[in-house]
């Protein structure tokens, strides 16, 4: 188990050192507040600059081919090796919040020959895109590591101040 992880972490560390050595300050020095969906959880402070360092300036890890670097995944390379960078590479410019709204589903399924019909929602783009790397690099993966839970969240998950009293649920619960 540990072997692969550790090697990845090692590579990442080397990448960090090399990139900060060769490309000092080449990135956007910014922390983004991602909070357009906040409800069960607070927003997330996303340190863009730090992540660019972590990935060794490989923007495609997160932005596909849209932020200036070519994708690394062989599958994507077959078609996007030379795809142009986009004016707006923000995840939210392509990943919509409500993917299963009737209108969006029509757009996805009624466009002839559309290739990407499984494009995830914005919420899923974040989690799929962030959690995979975090898991492999011992970065935060717990549900309250990136965003604290709100009161609405505690109610929804029946946790914190809204946690069931021990045992009471055996008698049929429903005390809320």
């Amino acid at each position: 188990m540990g072997m692969k992880k550790r090697r990845l972490l090692g590579l990442t560390l080397i990448a960090v050192m090399v990139s900060s050595w060769i490309l000092p300050g080449s990135a956007l020095a910014e922390v983004f507040e991602l909070d357009s969906m906040k409800n069960l959880y607070e927003g997330v402070s996303f340190d863009h600059d730090m992540h660019i360092e972590v990935t060794g300036d490989d923007c495609a890890v997160c932005h596909h081919h849209t932020a200036g670097t070519a994708p690394a995944e062989p599958l994507c390379v077959t078609c996007h090796a030379n795809s142009p960078e986009k004016d707006d590479p923000r995840c939210s410019s392509c990943h919509v919040k409500d993917v299963f709204a009737a209108e969006n589903m029509r757009k996805v399924w009624d466009t002839p020959r559309l290739y990407h019909r499984g494009k995830p929602s914005l919420k899923a783009a974040y989690h799929q895109g962030c959690l995979g790397c975090h898991e492999q690099n011992d970065a935060p993966v717990g549900c309250t590591d990136c965003h604290a839970m709100t009161e609405a969240g505690e109610k929804f998950y029946h946790t914190g101040t809204c946690a069931p009293e021990p045992k009471s649920a055996d008698q049929g619960g429903g005390h809320h």
Binding site: M1, K4, L75, V99, F100, A102, M105, W109, R117, G118, P120, S121, K123, A124, H127, Q128, L131, E135, V141, C143, F156, Y157, H158, T159, G160, A163, P164, A169, D170, G172, G173, G174, H175, H176
Partner: protein
């Protein structure tokens, strides 16, 4: 008793049914099995390779369906250690229409999480076997039921290949069926996905027209043969289900609790045969009924004892 598989029971019923009712019901069953589902019905494609086991879907179901408060918070991951008798994993109950189970598969680094709920068969065994017609397969794809006509006979429990319908024992004199209805009343009817689908942070589940989802599933497999087992569970099983599954190559279906021997024929075939013995069964029904009930209440009493200790 624990190994008395419901379908084995049905197939047993089949054999004795044929013996008792004799000749000629097989052809009828064939004709009845040709329905194949509503053409535009909706479905859900579950990509288990993406599930991180956060239980948000369980919480969403609880809220949407107005179910009783859970025994433990939905953030409590100790439920994955819970087992039923015989080391079986958790299952759906009258208070939980969907649950997630964790599977440690040999040769795989991470556990695989499997979400479980009614699969909403194209040709539901529960529907065919129900004597009072409590069940309906809606054109949108959901298998719903009318609890007010349910007499609590539990035939649907026996006919379900996935062990889904459960009974509310809160009122022992009037047990009624409880199961996932794909959020039909509050969402599906209005073209919205079930609450669990929408709540999932990883979009493990994709909602769409069933036929479209089958295409998407095969495209995903083709794109990433190193990630997915080349099989869409539910495309053909028991005549097809509205909920379908993709799993990881290192966690094949048979290793994560899926019955891979169900075959492509709807349960309706077995049920029709089973129904051939119904006239006889009806005579002994009251006795059978009482037996079932006694069994169930005994099980319940045992459960209470256990949780008390």
């Amino acid at each position: 008793m624990k190994k008395l598989n419901r379908r084995a029971f049905l197939k047993g019923g089949l054999a004795s049914g044929v013996a008792v009712a004799a000749v000629g019901s097989a052809k009828k069953a064939n004709a009845a099995g040709d329905f194949g589902g509503y053409p535009d019905s909706m479905g859900v494609l579950v990509d288990m390779t993406k599930c991180v086991g956060c239980r948000t879907c369980e919480a969403a179901c609880n809220k949407e369906q107005g179910l009783p408060a859970p025994a433990k918070p939905f953030t409590d991951m100790s439920v994955y250690e819970e087992q039923r008798h015989g080391g079986l994993p958790r299952r759906t109950t009258e208070k939980e229409y969907t649950i997630v189970n964790r599977y440690e598969v040999e040769g795989r680094e991470q556990p695989l999480f499997r979400k479980f709920q009614c699969n909403h068969c194209q040709e539901p065994g529960c529907l065919t076997s129900c004597f009072v017609n409590a069940y309906t397969k809606t054109p949108e794809g959901a298998v719903i039921y009318d609890a007010t006509v349910c007499v609590g006979c539990r035939t649907c429990m026996i006919s379900c290949p996935f062990y889904v319908p459960t009974y509310s024992y809160s009122s022992p004199t009037n047990p009624v069926i409880k199961k996932c209805i794909m959020c039909y009343d509050t969402r599906l009817k209005f073209g919205r996905p079930p609450a669990c689908v929408e709540a999932c942070p990883q979009q493990v589940m994709t909602f769409g027209k069933r036929t479209d989802l089958i295409g998407l599933a095969h495209k995903n497999i083709q794109d990433r043969p190193d990630r997915y087992v080349d099989h869409v569970y539910g495309e053909h099983e028991v005549g097809g289900t509205s909920w379908m599954y993709l799993t990881a190559v290192d966690a094949p279906f048979e290793k994560i609790g899926f019955d891979t021997h169900l075959g492509k024929q709807p349960i309706i075939y077995y049920v029709k045969e089973f129904l051939a013995i119904v006239p006889m069964v009806l005579l002994i029904w009251p006795a059978l009924f009482t037996g079932f009930h006694l069994l169930a209440t005994r099980k319940d009493a045992q459960k209470n004892e256990e949780s008390e200790s």
